[in-house]
Amino acid sequence: MGELAAFIILSAITLVSAVVVVTSRNIVRSALSLVPTFFGVTGLYILLQAEFVAGIQVLIYAGAITVLILFVIMLTEGGTGLRVRQTNEQVPLSILAAAVVAVLLIGVLAQTPWPRATESLPQYTASGIGEALLTNLVLVFEVTSLVLLVALMGAIIVARRER
């Protein structure tokens, strides 16, 4: 019972903040309400007993990506705070598309008989994730670190001022 209440509160926080993100006319306000969205998602991870992923989510998403987005907003045109039109001419079509995709996804996902696991949950620890990353999934780990390196170099070179 308590878990259902927590789930409803966290989903409400996530979805309401996401609505503010996508519909606000002030871009700084929509970037700032990414923070409660990410916190709601963190709460959902904690309900799913994935604590390490929750900690990393707060650290990276709410701490770093939000700051990055706010930086770029302030250094480009959005930082002036002028009231410009934020939506283009595709608004009715995009509402339709989003609604159709939502109905399709929820319909398919709710009606598929997923194979439910019946064994009890193991204790998900950070050391378990570390072991998995370095034994079974080491290829994923190495490729991800390569992608990080390339993205780092690419972002620095692309955003550099021309001399």
Binding site: V21, V22, L68, Q86, A97, A117, Y124, L137, T144
Partner: protein, 103 residues
């Protein structure tokens, strides 16, 4: 009533569609990137929920979610660098004003 797999899937589907709406209908390039972040978060919720309810023995879902978080950070970094470079050269961040091949 227990919180089941379907609840998490519905929440993530709604979050995904909100991100899709942002991506399709906003003019500011940074707002489009924010929509993309929402979509990636929705897929992460799916991955972790499936890990707990369908295959709890292995940690693959959570590791996949961590990898998606890392790649989302990379993509946000590169995307925002592109937005800044575009702003410096084309003097606008609204994607519907970037419609000529030669500046």
């Amino acid at each position: 009533m227990q919180v089941g797999l379907t609840h998490y899937l519905v929440v993530s589907a709604l979050l995904f569609c909100l991100g899709l709406y942002a991506m399709l209908s906003r003019r500011n390039a940074v707002a489009i990137l924010m929509g993309i972040e929402l979509m990636l978060n929705a897929s992460n919720i799916n991955l972790v929920a499936f890990n707990k309810y369908v295959a709890p023995a292995a940690l693959n879902g959570q590791v996949f979610a961590l990898v998606v978080i890392t790649l989302a950070a990379c993509e946000a970094g590169v995307g925002l660098a592109l937005v800044m470079a575009a702003y410096r050269n084309l003097e606008t961040v609204h994607v519907d004003e970037i419609n000529v091949m030669k500046w």
